[in-house]
Every structure is written in C-alpha cells, then in structure tokens.
C-alpha cells in the first residue's frame, strides 16, 4: 500500500501544473461555443460580461466603443493613481515638492503622472461622448431609464474626481482653478446677498465651508480633496459602474433596433436547437434577450470577439495617453501662492463653460443652469417615453435633420450671445438703462443675463419643435443638441479667447505681458 501511495504521490506531483490549471479554469480550451461560454461565465473577472453578445452590439456604429474606452481609462487612472500615491504627500508643505520628485527622480514617475493627467482629461471627454451616443441612439428608453440616470451619476462623479485631483499638485494652476471652482459651489450667496439675508442664511457659504473645511484653500481643503479623490469618489464610482454594467446585462444587452433581430417563427426553429437557449443563462431577464425570444444566429460568443474589442480599445486609449505623455508633460506651475493670483485664473477646462456663465451671474451660471442641465438630463427618460424603436442614431431621418438644424441654431445662438456680450456688455453697463432706472439691482442681472437668455432661447426652440413634430423625442434631440453645441462653444471660447481680467482676446499672443 505504501508503495502504491508513494507512486500516486509522485504522479500527483508530476500532474500538479495540469491539475492546477484545470482547477483554476474549470473548462477546456475555448475552442467550441460551449467552452467559450464557460470561459466567460465561470471566470470571476469575466462573468460581468454576457456569455454571448449580439452581433449588432459589436458593430462599430452602435457604440463606437465609447463606454469601453471610458472604462479602460478609469482602469488606467486607478492603476497610475495608486502608484502615484506611493510618493505623493498630501500636505501643503510637501505636496508640491513630492510632485517635483515624481517628475524628476521617481522611476517611471513622470510617465505615470502624465498618463494619469491625460487619462483624466480623456475620461471626461469620453464620458461626455458616451452620454451623447446613448442619447442619440435612444438608449435611455424603457427598460434602460434608470441606467441612464446611473450614467448621469457616473458623469458627475467623473467631473468630481477630475476636479478634486486638480488641487493635489498644490501649484498656482491648482490653487486658483480650485479657488474658482469652489467659489462656483458657493454661488448661492449671490441670491442671499440680493435679498440681504446672507448674514442669517448663507447656504453658499456653508457649501464652501463643507468643501474647504475653512474659509480659504489650505491644509484642510487639501486633505478633503485628497480623501475624496483617492477614496470616496473612486469607491462610489466603482460601485455605480458595477451596477451600470449589471443593468446592461439585466436589460438584455445594449439597445438595438427591432430590425437587428428578424423574428423567428416556430417553423424556423429546428428541433435540436432548443437547448441553445440555456446558454444565455438569462431566463429571468426582461425584454429581448438572446435566450428568450431570439435565435442565437444573431449572436456570437463573447469569447473572443467582445474581449478582442475590449483589449484593442484599451490598447488604443493606452497608446494615445502614452504618446501624449511622452511629448507633453502634465502642467506644474509655481508653488501655490495665495498672495499672487493667476491672471487669468481659470477653472479646469470642463468647467470653463460654466466660468463664462459665472462671469455673468455666479448663481445662475454656477448653480441654476448646471442644476437644470443635470436634472434635465437625468429626467430625459422619464419625460420622453415615446414607444419607438431604439438603437437607431437620431431615431431616423427626421431626427437627423432636427439634430443638424439644432446644431446650426445652437451655433448661431451661442456665438451670437457671446459676440453681443463681448461687444456691448450687459444691462449693468448700459448708459441708457442707468439713465432710466439708475443702478440695476443685482437680482435683475441674476435673472436676466446672457446665460438665462440662452437657456430661454434653447427652451423656446425645443417647445417649437415639440409643437411642429408632435414628438417629445424630437424636442429632446433639439434641446440636447443645443446644449451640447453651446457647451463646446463656451468651453472653446473661455479656454482660448478669454485672457487676463476675463477680457476678450483673439489669441493668447495678444495678452498683455506682465513681467516680474
């Protein structure tokens, strides 16, 4: 017996590698459909994927891979962010120096920081484009309404992550951008000031105190931003991202038009194929799924097609961030100095459209308009419940025409309002208004300024479309397009055409030179 057990032991020893592999991957090589399905569903890391994926989903025009690229960027940000935490010291005295060290002497530190910076910008862009894609292909419609809301949360969290990260280098750029950004958060004071009740009721001031932990940006603010940036927001984003993915599965994959799946008649079903349907393992999901009422002819195993796409797009975004990182260093200006303001002091680029609006009215531009935009976006699936086909860009030809017209309208409107404001200023500076009523009360400016004019004009356009087309979907396309175009133009305008003292300049070369 002992001899036999010994032999068994030696044989076991010999077979350790194979048995280890088999116990880890409890299925054969993914050479058959069945094994491929198992590859996905039995792997912890892959099982958030469907085992089979619809061919329509894998078409480039369906998603342009924007969601995958956003996720890839988040992964890159997580990895590089954890690495940067090894050397970054979140304190006013040491933060700037530690970034200098990361740049100059930490092995691969410069590359990691640059990739982190570029990936962060990229993620903001991608998440916006992903949202636009989901909107224009009606992907928010029933049953995916709440997943759209989750997407909005992810959008806000992404902006929050990017903004909190902005302060951490503790240089002039960081300090003054966050000064602007946190003041936007405190803009309700404008309204309470107008009513003269700020002394007793100051929600704007409270928000700022909560954010900064003081009345200025210092040690407290840095620690708060750091905690938000490395822990609170990433955890929240990861959890919601998980739910976002999970709901895609539960909603039967990505939105696709009815035409993507020719309905299967009883005749078309061959007897031996019935068990196929268990492959989806989605007996309880709602709506159209490969498993319930569609044949699997239109689907492919997720392995390898979906994974190939994911890997390829991950490589694409990594490649882009690495190329940018090699040639363009993440900015690092002088050590933060509360005595010497940057001029112009600009918020991060994605808030620059807001900063332009804030230059008209802090409360309208900083709270009401962005509030309307975020809440309005979140409510789209609940306000537009028309039962029409999904997964079609602009819902067809009419929508395409309306999107084009709205783009033109949005361009004319935003450029017109900006040009008017630059050329003629606004109410408070017009002599004839002053002669007429004297000093314009601040509350009038708050209610009536270029920002509110734009919102009203866009709303009027949308209501017009609603009446002409008799379709909430078309009205939504009009409104969404107007705001998107306005966001792009405002951001461009505030980034490149606003100079010192927020004055208008055709190019940065015209900025007055300030020597020290």
């Amino acid at each position: 017996m002992a001899y036999s057990a010994g032999r068994q032991f030696l044989s076991n020893l010999k077979n350790v590698p194979r048995n280890l592999r088999d116990s880890v991957m409890r299925h054969g090589r993914p050479t058959s459909d069945r094994a491929r399905t198992q590859t996905v569903v039995q792997n912890f890391f892959l099982h958030i994927h469907p085992s089979r994926v619809h061919n329509h989903t894998l078409k480039w025009t369906t998603t342009m891979g924007l969601g995958i690229m956003t996720t890839a960027l988040f992964l890159i940000l997580t990895v590089t962010g954890i690495l940067l935490m090894v050397y970054y010291k979140p304190s006013v005295a040491t933060a700037f120096d530690s970034i200098k060290d990361i740049h100059f002497v930490v092995p691969t530190g410069r590359m990691m920081r640059n990739v982190h910076r570029w990936a962060a910008h990229g993620m903001v862009v991608m998440v916006m484009m992903h949202m636009a894609r989901a909107f224009y292909t009606s992907a928010y419609k029933r049953p995916r309404e709440f997943n759209w809301v989750l997407g909005m949360m992810l959008f806000v969290l992404t902006l929050g992550l990017s903004f909190t990260g902005y302060l951490l280098p503790w240089d002039q750029l960081a300090f003054w951008a966050v000064t602007i950004g946190s003041s936007i958060a405190g803009s309700p004071s404008e309204v309470t000031d107008a009513f003269g009740i700020t002394q007793s009721f100051d929600p704007g001031g409270r928000i700022r105190e909560l954010l900064l932990g003081a009345h200025y940006i210092g040690e407290e603010a840095l620690i708060r931003f750091y905690t938000l940036h490395i822990m609170v927001l990433p955890i929240a984003l990861s959890v919601i991202l998980g739910v976002h993915f999970w709901r895609i599965r539960k909603d039967g994959g990505l939105a696709r038009p009815a035409s993507a799946d020719p309905p299967i008649t009883q005749d078309g079903l061959k007897p031996g194929e019935a068990p196929d349907k268990t492959f989806g393992l989605m007996a309880v999901v709602r709506e159209r799924t490969p498993a319930t009422d569609q044949a699997i002819e239109n689907t492919s195993p997720a392995w390898p097609r979906l994974f190939r796409v994911e890997a390829a797009l991950t490589v694409l975004v990594l490649l882009i961030t690495v190329v940018l990182s090699i040639w363009l260093d993440a900015p690092l200006k002088e050590l933060a100095n509360p005595e010497v303001p940057e001029n112009p002091a600009k918020a991060p680029w994605y808030f620059l459209g807001l900063q332009e609006l804030v230059s008209y009215s802090a409360f309208m531009g900083g709270m009401v308009i962005p509030g309307i935009v975020v809440v309005g976006l979140a409510l789209i699936p609940y306000l537009d419940r028309e039962d029409e086909d999904v997964g079609i860009w602009f819902s067809g030809r009419q929508g395409r025409r309306i999107a084009t017209a709205s783009t033109v309208y949005g361009i004319v409107l935003s450029v017109g309002i900006l040009a008017f404001t630059v050329k003629f200023k606004w109410l408070g500076e017009w002599d004839w208004v002053r002669n007429l009523i004297g000093e314009v009360p601040p509350i009038v400016i708050t209610l009536f300024n270029p920002g509110t004019v734009f919102v009203l004009a866009a709303a009027a356009w949308s209501i017009g479309l609603l009446r002409v087309t008799n379709s909430t979907r078309m009205a939504a396309i009009g409104l969404f397009t107007c705001f998107l175009v306005c966001f792009v133009i405002m951001t461009y305008f505030a980034t490149f055409l606003r100079g010192p003292n927020w004055d208008f300049y055709w190019s940065q070369a015209d900025w007055p030179v300030i020597e020290h």
């Binding site: 100059f104 690495v322 090699i326 002088e334």
Partner: protein
C-alpha cells in the same frame, strides 16, 4: 463568422500593442540610459579609471557608482540634485574639465561643505531637478533661476548679515552703506529695527506690478516718491553707484528662513523674543533708530552715551538670578505689568521718553514737533532720580536688591 470589424480590431490590437510597447521601451531608455546625467557620470567614471595609477585611486574609481545623487538638507528645507551631473565639484584634478564635470572654483567649499550647505542656497536654480534646463531654472514657472556668476555675491548676505568678507567688494560696500544710512532705523529686518517704514526682511520677494524688481529698487532708492507717491522715506542723496550697491543688497533679502546655526552673527534668542512682544515695544523704537540720524548730527553726544555705563548697564546683571528685580532701571521701555522691555541697557528713550511719535514727526519733516515730542528738559533731574535713588547709593544697592524676594508681577525699585 470573422468579419472586417474583427480584422480591424485584431489589427488595432496587434499594431497598437507593438507601438505602445515600442514607446514604453523608448520612455524607459530615455529615463535611464538616455538621461544626460547618466552620460556625465559614465564619462567621469571613465576619467577616474583612466588616470588611476595607484590601487587606492583604482578603489576610488570603483567606488564611484553611476546613480542619481542628491544632497539632503532638511535644515534648509532643500534637496539639491546638482551633483547628479556636477560630480566633479570636489575633485581638484577636474579643474580644467568642461562643464558639468569641472571642479568648483575658489576655495569657498572648504568653509561651506556641500553636505551642509548644498548648492542652491547660493546659486539658486531648481535643486530638485536633474536635467540641465530645469535645474538651471531658466524655464517657465520657476521663480528662481540660477544666478549669473557676477550676481553670485548677492547670496552672501543671506547668512552674513554683518560683513565685511574677503573677495566680495560689492557685498562689503553694500553692507557698509546699509549701516551708514541706518536703514534699520525705520525698517524692520529679521526682527530688528524700526516700524516707521515697511519691513524689508523679504524685500526681494515683494512684487511691484509691471516693473522689474531691480529697476524698482534702484528708482526707489534714488527717489522714493518716483515709485511710491505717498512715500515718507527721506531722500538719501545716493549716487548711482551707491544706489546700485543698495539695490544689490535689497535683492538679496529673500526673507527665506535661515536656521540660526547658519547665520554668521546670530542674535541671542531671549532678547528677540521679548522684542517681539508688541506691548514691550509700544511707543519705543530702540536707540538704533535715533542713532540713525543723530550719529551724523552730533556724534560726540552719541559716542559719549556709548562709552557711558548707561549703554551697557544691562551687561552687569544679566547673570544675576534675581535680575528681574532690576530691569526697571537697567533696561529701556520696561513694562512692569508684562515684565517686557524694548532694549537692554538705558538707551536714548530711557531718558528722552518713547520715540515712536517723535519719529513720525521727523519723517513728516516737522522738526519742531519732533523736538517737542522729546520729553526731556536736560536740566530736569526728575528723570535721573527715577533710578539714581539717593537713598540707595550706587555702591551698595546691588546687595540691597539681591535680598528682595524675586519679583512677582510688580517690579522692584
């Protein structure tokens, strides 16, 4: 089943991965073997081996590691990585080598070992950087680029507050002028001096809008009102050369904290602490301020006071355990409630009364009021008998006060 989309993705995966791989490899090379400092250090190491004749020299060469080097200077709050490229600074045989391997000229490093002082305290520049352009600091967003060689003497004044020093005539001239014009009469410098004008501890850091700092200081010294309309500073009648010298000194006042052990003439701490108390100095400006003008007006009187026991009377008792009983008479501006005083010894204001108001008048050009504000009628003996008490003769009073219990709240005397 495989369609064009799959092929595109496979192609993207293949070429994207290979391209990224190549770029990462390039970045790794660029950061390590391709770095400038790596070439400089390899070059230096080769030269060490090439000239090594003895075993000991060979050992020195072998012990030279090619790696990033830095001077860790926690006392100065600096890390200087200059020696990552300038590896030959202390090697006399590199005297004729090209930069960056050349040895440091002069013998200044004998008194200023690099392990204690580093490089950027004198040369400025960006110590943490390890590439030439960044380290020399002539890059955007670095406020302190390296000083040109002819400007280097400016840095001496950071620690050498008194002068004179050998080999730096411009510094010596500037320091001498600074004392002659008694700038600290009105301007606070590192916790010493008057408060009639703005503090100058960090004069080189103060921003003057569009005007370059050097130009501003020169104009300001030549004619204060030309740059500050409401300036109360008197015209110092400086020649261009003198104004240039003082500008040079102003530009050295960076206000950066220098640890006491680095100062050439550290002031004793306890006095500084007391002078910092606003109550103690209230109304008092310190003899230095008066002397600023009166040394020139009637030097005999000032020198007479200097030689008299009045000026040094604090020295006699500074080691006494019960000296708190004596401060009322042996210091100037003593406040019995706080126990603080403005100056050790009996200075100008000990007899003439607090001078702050008087200084304001003289700055406003109202010499008559200045005289009025100085309280003393020279004939009055009241001021004298405050301390020179006839009942306690000079010879025995020390023993008298030593017997008193230590002062508690109220001053003796």
């Amino acid at each position: 089943m495989k369609n064009a989309y799959d092929k595109t993705m496979t192609g993207l995966l293949l070429f994207g991965s290979l391209l990224t791989l190549a770029l990462l490899a390039y970045a790794a090379y660029d950061e390590n073997l391709g770095a400038d400092w790596y070439h400089h250090q390899s070059d230096y190491r080769c030269q060490l081996f090439a000239r090594a004749a003895t075993d000991r020299e060979r050992q020195t060469a072998e012990r030279f590691d090619v790696r990033q080097k830095q001077l860790y200077l926690p006392a100065l709050g600096r890390i200087d990585r200059c020696i990552t490229c300038h590896v030959g600074v202390e090697d006399p045989s590199m005297k004729n080598a090209q930069q960056p391997l050349t040895s440091h000229p002069g013998d200044i490093m004998a008194n200023h070992p690099k392990e204690q002082f580093g490089c950027t305290i004198c040369h400025l520049g960006q110590g943490r950087a390890n590439t030439e352009t960044d380290a020399h600091g002539h890059v955007p967003h670095w406020p302190d680029p390296m000083l040109a060689t002819e400007e280097l003497d400016r840095s001496c004044a950071k620690c050498h507050t008194q002068g004179p020093l050998p080999g730096v005539p411009r510094y010596n001239e500037a320091i001498a002028l600074f004392h002659e014009k008694a700038c600290v009469s009105c301007h606070l410098l590192r916790g010493q001096g008057g408060d009639a004008g703005p503090e100058i501890t960090n004069a080189a850091e103060v921003d003057h809008g569009d005007m370059p700092k050097k130009e501003w200081h020169f104009k300001h010294l030549k004619d204060p009102k030309s740059v500050v309309e409401a300036s109360e500073m008197p015209d110092l009648n400086l020649s261009d050369e003198e104004a240039t010298a003082l500008t040079f000194l102003m530009m050295s006042l960076t206000g950066e904290p220098i640890p006491t052990e680095y100062l050439s003439n550290p002031k004793p701490k306890p006095i500084e602490m007391r002078m910092m108390d606003p109550m103690a100095a209230k109304g008092h400006v310190g003899s230095q301020v008066c002397i600023g003008c009166h040394q020139g007006l009637h030097p005999d009187a000032v020198d007479g006071w200097r030689k008299s026991p009045m000026s040094s009377t604090y020295e006699r008792l500074k080691n006494e355990p019960t000296k708190d009983n004596c401060l009322a008479c042996h210091t100037t501006g003593f406040n019995p409630e706080t126990g603080h005083y403005s100056e050790e010894g009996v200075g100008c204001e000990g007899c003439h009364g607090p001078g702050a108001v008087a200084v304001k008048f003289v700055l406003a050009g109202q010499v008559d009021k200045h005289k009025e504000a100085i309280r003393l009628n020279p004939d009055s003996t009241l001021v004298c008998v405050r301390c020179h008490n006839p009942h306690v003769p000079v010879g025995v009073h020390a023993n008298h006060y030593r017997k008193q219990p230590p002062r508690s709240g109220q001053a003796g005397g």
